[in-house]
Amino acid sequence: MSDPHPAAPPLLTAPPEDVEADRLTDQMPALSESLRRRYDELAPLHRAAIAVLTWGFRIGAALLTLGLIFSLIRREALNTVSEPFADVLPGVLRGDPAGVVDLAILWFMVTPVITVIVVGLGFLRLKDYRYAALSLLVLAVLGASIWLALD
């Protein structure tokens, strides 16, 4: 008499999660390769951001040092409140130490904004329009805070 419940073929007795694991293990090299390609693809964008941040810091530090040297030479104290935006540039042009220090502070504040612009352009160059648009959105949010400051 035949068994009313014959054993299932070996392939079907394997737990489904093992089958899934095998299938996913097969995908691993392809996925790793895809992430490696992405790593290489983003390298120029990283280099551009590093250049902006490095030069941003160097210029800011130079301005700050210059402002402090002017302040010591002229024996002028720094302001206890930063000048409004509109008054910073005229102060710098007059060689006013407080103006130069305010410009250094503003320069440090603007450096990350420039970085976002460069990152957005980098995504655009990669034809990654989704993240180029997101970078633009971040810029718009930062723009709102600058607008609040100017208002």
Binding site: L31, Y39, L42, V81, D102, Y131, L142, S145
Partner: protein, 282 residues
């Protein structure tokens, strides 16, 4: 500028940066409480100074993380939308809020940071979950210099991450801290981002977040160059020392001490919110 006070401020900022960089929290978490509690500096001016310092610190620090590919640029931009918007809301509230409310929130954040440090755990193991959809192309890899192994991951739970990012932004804007205290554990524990990538991505993000805060405080006349300049110099020097010390000392071995310092500062701020000033404070 009073040179003695400037020197003291620079020294305090350096110590805050050393502690902050050893813990991966940034200097603001220590700077604002020390400036307000021990120097008697106006809370809003301390927060404004801290926001500028966080920006400067991020400008210097994120280059190192970018070189190592620890910064996940796509993840940063995605989270940054809600984080920067949160920072503007937080800063607009913080700049005009009752100082007692700001002290209370800051105290609560520091107590949370102290407790999370004392109970710190880290998401271990291969972060990558094969089969996890990567529709947003957020997956990334980097080479971990400690093990010389490639680490691959795909961030998970993005909607939750964006919600937490908005909360981190509000805290950052209100208190002038970077927000890494919230972002790093959220990315690591909830979104399954490896801790080095979480710290690198957060370090890049906090500079952008704090720009939003800094502009709001600048517009309200809450940026005092006599505080900001020594703080920037001190934080830069302290950050360099802190990053070297981190390689030699194992910060985790000191985590109980740091957690105690954070707890003391947090409790002091909560007491200050209730109108109590502890001995030795102003």
């Amino acid at each position: 500028m009073d040179l003695v006070l400037a020197f003291e401020l620079g020294l305090v900022a350096a110590v805050a940066a050393i502690l902050g960089s050893m813990l991966g929290l940034g200097g603001g978490v220590f700077l604002v409480p020390i400036l307000t509690l021990f120097f008697g500096i106006d809370q809003k001016l301390a927060i404004g100074a801290s926001a500028i310092v966080v920006v400067t610190n991020s400008v210097v620090g994120s280059s190192v993380h970018l070189r190592s590919h620890f910064v996940n640029m796509r993840l940063a931009m995605l989270l940054q939308v809600s984080t920067a918007a949160g920072a503007i809301a937080g800063a607009l509230f913080g700049v005009s809020a009752d100082p007692a409310i700001v002290f209370a929130v800051f105290g609560a954040v520091l107590v949370y940071a102290a407790l999370s440090m004392a109970l710190r755990r880290e998401a271990h193991g291969a972060s990558i979950t094969f089969g996890t959809p990567d529709r947003l192309r957020l997956g990334a890899l980097f080479r971990d210099p400690a093990t010389d192994a490639e680490v691959s991951y795909i961030p998970a739970r993005m909607p939750l991450g964006m919600g937490i990012g908005a909360g981190a932004g509000v805290i950052s804007g209100m208190l002038g801290v970077g927000g890494g205290v919230v972002l790093v554990p959220a990315m690591n524990l909830l979104m399954k981002v490896p801790v080095k990538a979480a710290v690198g991505t957060s370090s890049f993000m906090v500079g952008i977040t704090s720009v939003a805060t800094a502009f709001v405080f600048y517009s309200q006349g809450k940026i005092d160059p006599t505080i900001v300049v020594p703080a920037i110099v001190g934080v830069f020097a302290g950050g360099q020392i802190g990053s070297r010390l981190t390689r030699r000392l194992r910060a985790r071995r000191l985590s109980a001490l740091f957690a105690a310092i954070l707890l003391y500062l947090g409790a002091s701020l909560l007491l200050r919110a209730a109108g109590v000033t502890l001995p030795g404070q102003r």
